[in-house]
C-alpha cells in the first residue's frame, strides 16, 4: 500500500471524525479545514491538479470562513452547557454504521475495482477551459446563475434585520384601522 495515501487517508478521516464530534464549534470548523486540505492532497494524488487547487480556494478560502463567521454570529464559540448530541443519537449512529457497512460491502464485492489503472492522464488547464467553453457551456452558465441567485438569496435571508420585525410587531400592537364607510 502506498504510504502517502495511508497518511493522507488517516489525516482526512481522523479530522473528519473530529469535525463532527468535538465540543467547541470553532475546533470543529478548524478540523473541517484539515479535512478539506487532506481531500485536496488526495485529488493531487489522483492527478487532478486543478480540482485540488479549486478545492482549497473555494473550501478553505470561502466556505470555512463562512462557517467561522456563522459560528461567531450565533455565539457558538463557547462550549454548550448541555450534551452536544441530540436526543436520538443512537439511531443516527446506527444508520451511519449501517450505511457504511452496505457501502463497504458493495465496494468489496464489486468486480470493477480490480481493474488496473489506465496510464496517468495529465489534463492541462487549457483543455479543461476549452471543454468548459464548448461542450459544458450550458452547465457553466447555469452554475453562474445559481451562484448569483444564491448570493442574493443569502443576503436577503440574512438581512431580514431587527427593524423589519419591529415594524410588523408595531403594526400588530396598533389598533386595527377602521374601514372607511363607502
Amino acid at each position: 500500500m502506498d504510504p502517502v495515501f495511508c497518511i493522507l487517508a488517516l489525516v482526512t478521516a481522523a479530522s473528519a471524525i473530529a469535525a463532527v464530534s468535538l465540543r467547541r464549534l470553532v475546533h470543529c470548523a478548524l478540523c473541517l479545514v484539515v479535512t478539506f486540505v487532506g481531500l485536496a492532497a488526495l485529488y493531487l494524488q489522483l492527478n487532478a491538479q486543478f480540482v485540488g487547487f479549486a478545492q482549497i480556494l473555494v473550501y478553505v478560502g470561502a466556505v470555512a470562513i463562512l462557517i467561522v463567521f456563522a459560528i461567531l454570529l450565533t455565539r457558538g464559540s463557547d462550549s454548550p452547557p448541555q450534551s452536544i448530541f441530540s436526543s436520538s443519537w443512537v439511531v443516527g449512529v446506527g444508520v451511519a454504521v449501517l450505511a457504511f457497512g452496505a457501502l463497504a460491502f458493495s465496494v468489496w464485492t464489486s468486480s470493477v475495482i480490480y481493474r488496473p489503472a489506465p496510464p496517468a492522464p495529465q489534463p492541462t488547464v487549457r483543455e479543461l477551459g476549452e471543454q468548459l467553453m464548448t461542450q459544458y457551456v450550458l452547465p457553466l452558465e447555469v452554475i453562474g446563475l445559481l451562484l448569483t441567485a444564491a448570493l442574493i438569496g443569502a443576503v436577503i435571508i440574512a438581512m431580514r434585520e431587527g427593524p423589519a420585525r419591529h415594524k410588523s410587531e408595531s403594526i400588530a400592537h396598533r389598533p386595527l384601522p377602521i374601514p372607511h364607510p363607502k
Binding site: 470553532v26 478548524l30 491538479q49 467561522v68 492541462t124 488547464v125
Partner: protein
C-alpha cells in the same frame, strides 16, 4: 560567460544533485530549492525591515535606527536576537493549541506561494500548469490563520482585529483576482513561466510588458492597491490600527511567535509583489533591450522587487489610514467595477486589430469609468466645518 552567470544557481543545483544516488535526487533537489527560497527571503526580510525603518525615518524627518553597526544597518540582527530570547507569553484564557498553530499556519502558506514564482530564466522552483491558481489558493489559507490567532487569544481587541482583517482580505481578494484575470486572458495560460515568456521582446524602445498597455496599466494599479490591502499595509492597516485596537490579531503574541507574524506579513508582501512582477512587469526580463543579457535575469527580478518595496514604504510614509466604511466603499464601489470594466477592455484589446484605434478605444474604456467612478465616490461627501459633538 554571461550565460554561465545567468544560470549559475541552476548549474550549481544540478552539480550538487548529481553527487547523490538517483533515488534521492528528487528529494535533494526539492530540499535545495526550499533552503534557497527560505535563505533568500529571510535575508530580504532583514534588508526590507531596515530599509523600511530608515526610509520612514527619512520621510518623517528623523534618523531611524542608527545604533547597531554602520548607520544602524545591523539592527535586524539585534532585533532577531532579541525576539529569539524573549519570553513566550500565552494568555491564561487562551486556547493553547490553536494559539500555537496560528503563526505556523500563517507562515507556511506564504512560503508555499514563493514556490511557483519564476525568479530568473529556468529558475521557477515548481513549474506548475495551474501556478496562478496555486498562488491564490495558498493565499486563501492565511485568512484562516488570522482568524485562529484572533479567536484563540481570548481578547476582544484581537478578535476585532481578526474580523477586520478577514473582512478586508475577502473584499480585496476579488479585485486582486479579477485584475490578474486580464493577464491570464491575454496570455491564455495559468503558468507563471508562460506569462513571463509572453512579455519577452520590445516594441521600439519599450519592453513588451503588460503594464505598458491600457488594460495592463489599469490592472497593475488595481492589483497593487489590492495587494497593499491584502498584505495589511498602510494605508489599509486597520486590522492592526495601533490607535484603536492596539495591534489587532497578534496583540497577545510575544517573542518568537510575534516574530513569525511579523515575518509572515513581510513574506506575504514579497510574494504578492513577486506575482505583480510576474504578471505585469515582465518577470525577469530586462527593462531596456541593450540591458538584455548584460546582467543575470534574477538580478532584474530582485531589482523590480526592491522597486515595489520602495513604493510600499513610500505609501506607508505618506498616506493616512482609511476608516472601515471608506475601505469597504472603495473595494466594492470602485475597485470591483473597475476590475470588471478592465476585463472588458482586455477582451476588446484581444480582438481589435493592432493599431492606434485599439489604443484609443481601450484607453477610453479604462479611463472614462475611472473618472466617473472616482467622481461618484467623491460626490457624496459634503465638506462642512468640523463640529465637535463631545469635546467642546
Amino acid at each position: 560567460m554571461p550565460e554561465t552567470l545567468d544560470q549559475i544557481f541552476v548549474l550549481l543545483k544540478h552539480w550538487i544533485v548529481a553527487h547523490f544516488p538517483a533515488a534521492l535526487q528528487p528529494l535533494v533537489s526539492a530540499l535545495l530549492s526550499i533552503s534557497a527560497i527560505i535563505l533568500a527571503f529571510a535575508l530580504l526580510f532583514a534588508i526590507a525591515t531596515i530599509l523600511e525603518r530608515k526610509g520612514l525615518g527619512r520621510i518623517q524627518n528623523r534618523y531611524g535606527p542608527n545604533r547597531v553597526g554602520p548607520y544602524g544597518f545591523f539592527q535586524p540582527v539585534a532585533d532577531g536576537l532579541k525576539m529569539l530570547i524573549k519570553e513566550d507569553i500565552v494568555p491564561g484564557g487562551a486556547d493553547r493549541v490553536v494559539h500555537f498553530l496560528a503563526p505556523i499556519a500563517l507562515v507556511v502558506p506564504v512560503l508555499l506561494a514563493f514556490s511557483v514564482l519564476p525568479y530568473g530564466r529556468n529558475m521557477a522552483p515548481i513549474d506548475l500548469d495551474a501556478g496562478i491558481v496555486f498562488f491564490f489558493a495558498v493565499g486563501a489559507g492565511t485568512e484562516l490563520a488570522v482568524f485562529m490567532a484572533g479567536w484563540s487569544s481570548r481578547n476582544k481587541y484581537s478578535l476585532l482585529g481578526a474580523m477586520r482583517a478577514i473582512g478586508q482580505m475577502i473584499s480585496y481578494e476579488i479585485p486582486l483576482i479579477l485584475s490578474s484575470i486580464t493577464v491570464i486572458m491575454l496570455t491564455g495560460s495559468l503558468r507563471p513561466v508562460d506569462i513571463v515568456e509572453a512579455q519577452a521582446g520590445y516594441w521600439g524602445g519599450l519592453p513588451a510588458w503588460h503594464v505598458f498597455t491600457p488594460w495592463g496599466l489599469a490592472g497593475f494599479v488595481l492589483f497593487l492597491i489590492a495587494a497593499t490591502a491584502e498584505s495589511n499595509r498602510a494605508p489599509f492597516d486597520l486590522p492592526e490600527g495601533e490607535s484603536e485596537i492596539i495591534a489587532g490579531y497578534f496583540i497577545e503574541y510575544s517573542g518568537f511567535k510575534f516574530a513569525l507574524f511579523f515575518m509572515g506579513e513581510y513574506f506575504g508582501m514579497f510574494a504578492i509583489s513577486g506575482l505583480a512582477i510576474t504578471l505585469f512587469l515582465g518577470g525577469w526580463h530586462a527593462p531596456l533591450s541593450f540591458f538584455e543579457g548584460a546582467m543575470p535575469s534574477y538580478v532584474w527580478f530582485f531589482a523590480k522587487l526592491f522597486g515595489i518595496l520602495a513604493l510600499f514604504i513610500w505609501l506607508r510614509g505618506t498616506l493616512p489610514r482609511l476608516r472601515m466604511d471608506q475601505l469597504m466603499n472603495f473595494a466594492w464601489k470602485f475597485m470591483l467595477p473597475m476590475a470588471l470594466i478592465n476585463i472588458g477592455a482586455a477582451g476588446l484589446w484581444r480582438f481589435l486589430p493592432n493599431g492606434a484605434t485599439r489604443w484609443l478605444v481601450c484607453s477610453l474604456l479604462v479611463f472614462g469609468p475611472f473618472v466617473a467612478l472616482g467622481r461618484g465616490l467623491a460626490a457624496k461627501r459634503h465638506w462642512k466645518p468640523r463640529t465637535y459633538r463631545f469635546a467642546e
